[in-house]
Symmetry: C2
Subunit: 344 residues, 2 copies
């Protein structure tokens, strides 16, 4: 089945998440959610799940497939930590930066070969240390530096030029685009692309396709042997190193620590995906207005709805399922919650 994404329309998606203040809803977030299996069947959907959405960093686990499938990971003996970083939007903390730097050295490159641009790390301690030492952040601190190192590793393995690897016409990106097409059941080459936060193309894909791709990572049984193996490696690496996928206190890390049977990955502008190996399902969320606070609450609400958590896991995630909003004086002034008439 080939899915054709439609251009975005101003169709009102349902309200998925509300921010309350005292007795009223102060703000609300509309969006769309798709739940699919590996055959591409839509098991549940809310809102317009066929319009084209930029998946941003939520497809990093898919973008890492060529790193393994080309043999590059084997050739350079990549560790699970390195595979996890290739799938990560990391916090730029000391360990994460050191791992990427050493990996770059091992493939004969340095920080200057990264084309993702510098970024202030989200890890507060690292950001503070840089700021107070009057040091600028480097490309290593960019949350995508592991993904970029993975791209460079593939280019080195195949003797491709490393300069310009972020370009849509570079073999690195063409391979990734082909994989995205196979996994999502779309032809991304025929769809528009924008430039991602880190300079690579981000192809607009329907949420249904994105959820299907995640289901195909969760259940690669219908894929060829190379992909099956690559999918298993990626899931194993993410599962073993949730602390590298994002960082302390960040949703991906905290959920994957609390719930070993679920892998989740966020993207900018309100995108989130989940991989449910036990159920063979994939989930994709897009908040129309791009709010990450809402994408997090919507994703967890859907996972709860799909019974992806045990009672204990749900208790451990209570602060994330319905985050309490506090003011400057620390008073609880409201909550972020799934809209009451969404999942019932």
């Amino acid at each position: 089945m080939t899915r054709k994404p439609r251009p975005p329309v101003h169709h009102p998606d349902p309200v998925l998440v509300e921010a309350t203040r005292g007795p009223l809803v102060e703000s609300l977030h509309r969006g769309a959610v798709a739940v699919c299996d590996a055959a591409g069947e839509i098991l549940a959907g809310w809102g317009d799940i066929e319009r084209a959405v930029f998946p941003r960093s939520a497809v990093k686990p898919l973008q890492a497939l060529p790193l393994i499938e080309t043999g590059a990971a084997e050739r350079f003996a990549l560790s699970d930590q390195e595979i996890a970083l290739a799938c990560a939007s990391h916090a730029g903390n000391a360990l994460q930066v050191e791992l990427v730097e050493k990996w770059l050295l091992r493939i004969g490159l340095t920080e200057t070969d990264l084309e993702c641009g510098p970024q202030i790390p989200s890890d507060a301690d690292t950001a503070r240390a840089l700021l107070c030492a009057d040091k600028a952040p480097s490309a290593l601190h960019n949350n995508c530096s592991g993904k970029h190192c993975g791209m460079l590793t593939t280019a080195r393995h195949l003797n491709e030029p490393t300069k310009g690897y972020v370009g849509a016409d570079h073999p690195v990106q063409l391979r990734i685009t082909a994989v995205l097409g196979e996994m999502t059941g779309t032809v991304p080459q025929h769809t528009p692309f924008g430039t991602d936060g880190c300079g690579i193309p981000t192809y607009a894909l329907p949420l249904s396709g994105l959820a299907t791709a995640m289901a195909r990572l969760a259940d690669p049984s219908r894929q060829g042997p190379t992909r099956r193996k690559a999918a298993a490696r990626i899931l194993a690496a993410m599962s073993a190193h949730p602390e590298l996928i994002a960082g302390k206190g960040r949703l991906s890390t905290e959920v994957m620590r609390a719930v070993p049977s679920v892998m989740i990955k966020g993207g900018a502008e309100g995108v989130y995906t989940a991989i449910l190996p036990g159920k063979g399902l994939g989930v994709a969320v897009k908040i129309d207005d791009g709010a990450n606070r809402a994408a997090e609450v919507a994703l967890l609400a859907v996972l709860r709805h799909l019974q992806a958590f045990t009672t204990e896991e749900e208790a451990a995630l209570a602060d994330h399922l319905q985050p309490i909003l506090r003011n400057a004086a620390g008073q609880a002034i409201g909550v972020l919650r799934p809209a009451p008439d969404w999942l019932g």
Copy 2:
């Protein structure tokens, strides 16, 4: 005319602002906008302008009226700088903090009498200095400390207890609530309130009432002499000190610097108001999802639509009318813009 706000409904307001990435709209922001005159007539409206909205800091110029009307400002010989700070969501920079501190001393109080809670200042240099000296921010750095100092000044003038001045039952808040009712043409006492970021009550008001109140500041000719004088003082102070209303690079400050004939004031969760003295109009914006990035673009689009800017002023505000979005490497990847089918 008494307006009755309705509770929020999940009615789809129109799309006001779009965030593009390459050839597509990546995210969109729905919202409502009211343009009213001092008689409470709605001259233009988009979306549901009668539902209850928390105005947050966008009503600070109204909350400052009792400071002048009670005679407190005269008694303590408040400067225009201090009146401006009472209307401000300031950046917590050195000058702003010093002015509030000295003002507090003049009314016989100190920082410990402020009940707004501490807040990391939005001024980057000040925040950095605190962080790198391992100092916690104080209540003086809270963007609302000027408003709170104004409230304390009124309490001191009227020999009211200062402790607990943030409570909904305290005379300070009761006076403000009465003024909000008169200016908006509503009965806020009958409407729900939440706790604001700084601990005081924030009453849910319809956007039409909020725009009317701003129009009554712009054109107080039908108000009594005390209010007329107070409104003129507030507008003069805001107009004279745009640098105190917010801070360098912040929209309120930049617009009021570029356009002396317009006063604007933002509030958290996507609220903005404008006072147009030359036209006798008030404007109120609420972005449904609470995104401030969209409230800024929507407000400026409406002001442009109302021909509030000269050609030169419009040119000076180009970067704010349609902000360019850039990635980590500095590439322009899209824009924030008014939705093409909103204002035509």
